[in-house]
Amino acid sequence: MSVLLHALGFGLVTSALIALSAVALSLQWAVSGIPNFAHGEYLTAGAYGALAAQTVTANIYLDALAAIAAGALVAWLSNWAVIEPFIRAGMQTGMLFIVTIGISIVLQSVIEMIFGAQTQTYALPAQTLNHIGPFLWTRIEIYVVVLAVTVMLLIHLVLRYTEFGRAIRSIADSRQLARACGVNTTRVINLTWLFAGGIAGVAGYAIAIAGGAFTPTTGYQFLLPTFAAAVIGGVGRPYGAMIGAVIVGITTELGAAYVSAGYKQVIAVGLLVLVLFVRPTGIFPAVASGGRVGA
């Protein structure tokens, strides 16, 4: 029983991390229509952005702002400089995916050239274990879960109640229709990349503090679990991605507890492949109102 609870506790923390990352991927996938291979590097950028900020302030809450800025900047830049020109030139999705691999390689090597390939850690306050309900979590793990839930709520508010959120949803349905209806698509797409990049930055920062240490490939290792969550939830549906993240997070940690910790990645990727074959539309395709983003 305690093994199960322990694994569930871990699973929820992992879910929180994947949820942050997957929602960002999902938003960006919805407006640009491409699975972005470079997404993992936005996470890494967030982690390193916070690391750079630590030389200025040791306050980990303030460092989160630097993570947001770094993720947003890198994501916006990769869209503005590379992806959007390719889309306008009419390149097909399969080839664009290869282009995003190129972006991923470029970003990862730039980060490695600046910070080196060695393992980095944040200076964190001492850790204590707390019982929260049935789970045993460290202070940092509580912080990560609270952070994730807060960000999810914020995203919900933005998508549901702002003009920007409505514009995102309309572009996700059809870029041409949205433009015809007077939505300034270029501006909204740019803003979405900034927004999604910022969330990815937070995700990278959360991954770095929850894991304790990170390298230039940390974000990349989260790429396939993120894809798994986004695809399970239905491509381009942020709310589905949140549920997908919980499924992926808990399954991998249960697998780690009962099978072997070495198979975490295999389980997440296996889920991804399974869903692509069985239900490529995701397991929550019929959202009540039929909207692609939001409900």
């Binding site: 491409i34 699975p35 590379v82 020109p85 390719f86 306008r88 030139a89 009419g90 390149m91 097909q92 999705t93 399969g94 080839m95 995916f97 290869i98 282009v99 691999i101 190129g102 972006i103 991923s104 390689i105 470029v106 990862q108 090597s109 730039v110 490695e112 050239m113 080196g116 390939a117 060695q118 396939l224 894809f227 695809v231 072997s260 070495g262 198979y263 990645q265 295999v266 990727v269 296996g270 991804l272 492949v273 692509l276 074959f277 490529p280």
Partner: protein, 335 residues
């Protein structure tokens, strides 16, 4: 200097063989296989474990038949081919192109993780070492001449692969395959079995990867999961892209530039003491930039595929003018 040249050339010959296989899958068949290096690895592992002696207590692996090198190569090629057949049947049947890419990537990750975690299979994370080289103990081959012999062997393999693929390229199979790549619906309408053509290409490409893998394993004499990340596949991917997809000569040029000039050339860069990973990162950076820039300015590669002219139509003296409506439409959508 001669030894160094021989080494570089051997490396080049092996990578050229590998790249020809990926070009068959991606360049002719339109299947961007991100797990290509998985087939290389399977070829290397399988040919290694059948040519090596029984496993000792210092390293663990399966089989260990002490078979001769030729049999090892055959096993490596066959097992990579079987893996490609299985993966192809599953992935090509019903997936969209972008999902196909994700699935191949995932399959590569799963296989590499399983190999890493299962120590008894191919030595786990530590890998296997002491892979026997063909005729290494033959008395008429002195150690100083041996690298040259191995280079000759690799060149022969490359030449044979090249000639076979050259023939395939102009064969009905090759032409049908490229027709499928260019317009799947049209090719289908002309009676081609798209799935079968793609599967065939996927398997042949996988077998070429197996052959290259067997050579690579014997050349390095060691193989472990670390030698097998996405980075390796992207190097080959860029080589295909740079040279020109769908044309074997172009692919050879691409390999010469990427592996020859970039990999070997950057080894002479002065290393920065405080930053040991700098030149490796720089090399990857150049590869990534090349990937993006080539896609943007010259997606057809340096030596693009030449469209074959219909034998029966008179040779066109001037380039045919596009119908007006089409051209306008194209320029408008580009804006």
């Amino acid at each position: 200097v001669l030894d160094y040249t021989v080494n570089v050339l051997t490396n080049l010959a092996i990578f050229a063989t590998l790249t020809l296989g990926l070009d068959l899958q991606w360049g002719w068949g339109g299947m961007a296989n991100l797990s290509y290096f998985t087939f290389v690895a399977i070829g290397a592992y399988m040919s290694a474990v059948v040519t090596m002696g029984p496993p000792s207590f210092v390293q663990h692996y399966v089989l260990g038949f002490s078979w001769p090198f030729g049999a090892g190569v055959a096993v490596g090629v066959a097992s990579a081919g079987v893996l490609a057949l299985v993966m192809g049947i599953v992935a090509l049947k019903r997936l969209r192109q972008d999902y196909f890419v994700i699935v191949t990537l995932s399959a590569g990750v799963i296989i590499s993780q399983v190999v890493t975690q299962t120590g008894s299979l191919f030595g786990g994370a530590a890998g296997i070492y002491g892979i026997p080289q063909p005729l290494a103990s033959a008395s008429w081959l002195s150690p100083s001449v041996y690298p040259r012999f191995f280079l000759a062997l690799c060149l022969v393999c490359l030449l044979v692969t090249y000639l076979i693929l050259r023939r395939l390229h102009d064969s009905p199979f090759g032409r049908a395959l490229r027709a499928v790549r260019d317009n799947e619906a049209a090719a289908q309408a002309f009676g081609h079995d798209v799935f079968k053509l793609k599967l065939k290409a996927f398997v042949i490409g996988g077998m070429v990867a197996g052959l290259g893998g067997a050579l690579l394993g014997a050349y390095l004499t060691t193989f472990d999961p670390g030698a097998w990340a996405l980075g390796e596949t992207s190097v080959i991917l860029v080589a295909v892209l740079l040279g020109g997809r769908g044309r074997p000569v172009g692919v050879l040029l691409g390999v010469a530039i990427i592996v020859g000039a970039l990999q070997e050339g950057t080894q002479f860069l002065p290393s920065i003491a405080s930053h040991p990973d700098f030149s490796a990162a720089l090399r990857m950076l150049i590869i990534g930039i090349l990937m993006i820039v080539m896609m943007r300015i010259r997606p057809q590669g340096l030596l693009p595929e030449r469209p074959r002219r219909d034998r029966w139509s008179p040779p066109a003296k001037t380039t045919p003018r596009q119908p007006r409506g089409l051209g306008e439409q194209a320029s408008r959508s580009a804006r």
